[in-house]
Amino acid sequence: MTFLRVIGFSVLLLLGYMGFAHMLPQVVPDTSEPVEVSTEGLDMDGFIALGENIFKGKGTCTLCHNGMGRAPDTLEMDMAATYPARLADPRYKGVAAGKEGPKAIEEYIHESMVAPSAFVVEGFGKKGTNDTESPMPTVNMPPIELNDVEMNAVTAFLQDLAGLEPTVPLPSADDAPVAEEPATEGGEPAPLLTSGEAIVDEYGCASCHDLGGSGADLGPSLYGIGKRMTRAEVIESIIDPNAVIAEGYDADFMPADFGESLRGSELLVLTDYLMALPDAAPAAGDGKEEPLATTGLEAIDKFGCAGCHDLDGSEADIGPKLNGIGKRMTADEVKTAIIDPNATIADGYEADMMPDDFADQMDDSELSLIVDYLMNLPE
């Protein structure tokens, strides 16, 4: 009896600990294998965006370069003024000592990555070394292991940050592919997307472009785009959509921030996916009909509402924001706005932007699920 009571007590205690471990937020690791993608065709804006991704992601720079006093807060400091001051600092004896200009700054940034102790900012040296030795790991060595292209991307980002024109060479076809590690350091809770389909899904491309049988026509069809454009042009259209506008379409429709929201390798994976698309949409009715959505969220996803409307943080602004719409409109008004979008146009938005065939596309149950979901959205 004593025995059973003691065992019962101990097991209960154990289960308590186990339960507590389950109560805490679970950091789900990304178990996908690192993807290697070619950086060929990336232009300077894309390269800077890649650099920023590496700086905040794989490079783990922001672990220390932040406002917490571990290392200089590179993202917040006035680097335009800082770089020339570093080069002129009498304590600095590195490769760019005494030189001036953007090229010298490039050399300085590169050196600070591969030989962090070449110049240690006052107060940030290892303890007891009188600022002669840096605690920073060498970034082209394990565990960070950035390759030359990646370090160039970071340099381009840092130069851009200081308001300088990047002087690093753009990657060529011969350069090593860029591998983006899964977010094991816990930096980004969102998992890295590694397939073109997943990226198209996540960013709602098909709600404006004809893709995956969506038939949408707000933007040009993406089928056969590999025949019409080069890889570099596709990348440019994604990160700077207004640079070239296809005939018959208007500027400023496509969100211009994909360069920031797509992670470096995602941009490249997406490009590869688009380049390989067939010339025309697969024939309809070949069994690829999407199943009926059973929740509001599923329906929203299926019809890609968040691609144009600001919805649950998508921040798209082609159509009006949908969060809090329940306070501005009644359920019937919302329903009408979906099936006959041109009946009433919200202030500051244009007519004929939203597809007017949702009444045909949607099942009645889906329509009411969406209306319910939208009416209950918090601000």
Binding site: T2, Y17, H22, L24, V27, P29, T60, L63, M136, T184
Partner: protein, 585 residues
């Protein structure tokens, strides 16, 4: 016989320190520098649907539980034996022997599980093992040899107990015990070298090629911090488990005399557990500081990254350990007739301990305040948030330690009436020491809270030193003040049943805590077998979620508890004599 042991030990030490004396020739033959293996994902053996990591994890953790126990008990067994020689009190000697009896049954299981661990490593991670053997060369053979020696010493030490019990022979016996502990600690230090090498490799070049001696690989940056941390934790752990044994026997026995014996054994074990536990935060601080010094990345992964939540669980575990240990001590005040006069302080101590516990538990909500998000420069840096509240946690744990010690001191004094003339003044000096020390701990916490990170870490050292100063200072004063004190009768066995359950909390919580810390320590390497040198490309190279880890740790702990129940049962079986049929009913 003894001479040959000494020779073997000497040879082992020589080999350990400079194995190149023996292996130099072999090294020259393989002069080409070969880097660490780079197995691809497909090179890892897949056997059925078995999760290789879970198997190795379980075997390693179970081996560690058993080994920690088996290595720790002889340490305090010999200390207890020494006490019996000094005091001439046979109770100590009997208890030391009883400690060892439990160890004996656990020892062969340790070896068995160790064999299982080796086998599972060889099966599932052959490349890693091949590499480790390449780095540590003959040291692994020495380990096996020492293991054999350890077995011999253990059996000799235990079975010669009664033969070498009196007079000069006792000193022979204690010499064997000393030798046993030397071998045991050497074993642990060697195993620690392999583990710490995997975290902070030394004696190899960046590709992993072996460039240094075995001694260089052994003496890697994290070796000594790990040695100290495990040494202290083992003592605390061993004490806690023996305490659980004593508590069970206390509950099971009906005979008042035996009850008194096990009550006393439980009290002593609890004392040993807390004694090992109090300096642990200091060793932990040293280990963390060395991790930061070795690699900032690794340090941040532990304290600010994905593992930060884990320290909240650690807080809960340590909190329950502290509460349980204190509850037990307070219950113990009823053993003496004077205890009641101290009981009035208990509620204040309880408030501090529970308060400290809560401070340690709650702070994570602070991270999400708008102010803090603004200071951290947006949500991207919020993973660093927990660092910001480290001073609060440190303050809480130090206060909890100080007050736990105060509980001890109260119990100790409840059975002694000082007779020295300056007793009142002495008390005042002790009270002043507590007051100033506590103010210093709180002050350093506040100072750490409002200063940048480097100061936060820096300010935690004075806190720990304050705690140790209070403890050491008041022990020294007590020694002089209670000299020639009038002893009160301690009614051993006058304890509630409920208080014994507090003694079960300790081993359960300690075991789970050790499992958790093992998970943290291994996770620090992230997706490396040997940090920065050999990548882990296996399908399970990621850090498991807290919940998954909690499941595995709980399962291993349950397994360990089952083994311990078996071990206790075995050691009781040894002293059970067959009785008449009337007992069988």
């Amino acid at each position: 016989m003894k001479l040959s042991h000494l020779l073997a030990l000497f040879a082992a030490v020589v080999l350990l320190v400079s194995p190149d004396l023996v292996f130099a020739a072999a090294d020259e033959a393989a002069a080409v520098l070969e880097g660490a293996p780079k197995p691809s994902r497909l090179d890892y053996p897949l056997i059925g649907g078995i999760s290789a990591r879970t198997v190795v994890w379980s075997a390693a953790q179970m081996h560690l539980f058993l080994a920690a126990f088996v290595l720790a008990v002889p340490l305090f067994a010999i200390a207890t034996e020494f006490m019996s020689v000094v005091t001439g009190d046979d109770r100590f000697d009997n208890m030391a022997r009883e400690f060892m009896k439990i160890t004996m049954a656990a020892y062969s299981l340790t070896a068995l599980v160790g064999g299982g661990l080796l086998l599972s490593l060889l099966v599932f991670y052959p490349h890693l093992m091949e590499y480790l053997v390449r780095v540590f060369r003959g040291q692994m053979l020495i380990y096996a040899m020492l293991f054999g020696l350890e077995s011999i010493m253990l059996y000799v030490y235990f079975y010669s107990w009664d033969a070498l019990r009196r007079g000069n022979r006792k000193w022979y016996h204690m010499s064997i015990g000393l030798l046993l502990n030397t071998v045991g600690l050497t074993l642990m230090f060697i195993a620690n070298a392999w583990v710490s090498f995997m975290m902070s490799p030394a004696g190899v070049d960046p590709t992993g090629a072996v460039t240094g001696t075995v001694w260089e690989a052994t003496r890697n940056p994290l070796w000594n911090p790990l040695n100290l941390h495990r040494f202290l934790a083992n003592i605390a752990y061993g004490g806690a488990i023996v305490g659980g044994y004593a508590a069970y026997m206390f509950l099971a026995e009906k005979d008042p005399e035996k009850k008194a014996h096990y009550d006393w054994m439980g009290y002593t074990s609890n004392f040993i557990a807390i004694l090992g536990f109090i300096p642990l935060p200091f060793a932990g601080y040293w280990l963390m500081a060395e991790i930061y010094a070795y690699s900032q990345q690794m340090g941040i992964t532990a304290m600010g990254g994905i593992l930060a939540w884990l320290f909240i669980i650690q807080a809960v575990l340590i909190g329950t350990i502290m509460l349980a240990a204190n509850y037990y001590l307070w219950s113990g005040l009823m053993r003496t007739d004077r205890g009641a006069q101290y009981a009035k302080y208990v509620k204040y101590i309880a408030v501090v301990i529970v308060g400290g516990f809560l401070v340690w538990l709650t702070p994570h909500t602070l991270i999400l305040t708008a102010n803090e998000i603004q200071n951290l420069g947006g949500t991207h840096h919020k993973i660093l948030g927990p660092l910001g509240i480290m001073p609060a946690k440190n303050t809480a744990v130090n206060l909890m330690l100080v007050f736990t010690f105060m509980s001890f001191q109260l119990f100790y004094r409840s059975s002694r009436i000082p007779t020295v003339s300056w007793a009142k003044s002495g008390n005042m000096i002790v009270v002043a020491l507590y007051v100033v020390g506590i103010i210093n701990i709180v002050g350093a916490g506040i100072y750490g809270y409002i200063t940048p990170t480097v100061y936060k870490v820096g300010a935690s050292v004075p806190q720990v030193v304050s705690t140790l100063t209070i403890i050491i200072g008041s022990v020294i004063i007590d020694v002089f003040m209670l000299r020639g004190a009038k002893a009160e009768k301690v009614h051993w066995g006058r304890m509630t049943e409920r208080s014994q359950y507090a003694l079960f909390v300790l081993p359960v919580a300690f075991t789970w805590l050790m499992g958790l810390m093992g998970y943290i320590r291994s996770s620090l390497r992230t997706n490396w077998h040997v940090y920065t040198v050999m990548k882990d490309n296996s399908p399970e190279n990621y850090i498991p979620t807290l919940g998954d880890a909690g499941n595995v740790i709980t399962a291993i702990t349950l397994g360990f508890m089952a083994i311990m129940v078996f071990v206790f049962w075995l050691s009781r079986l040894g002293q059970t004599k067959q009785k008449g049929t009337e007992d069988a009913a």
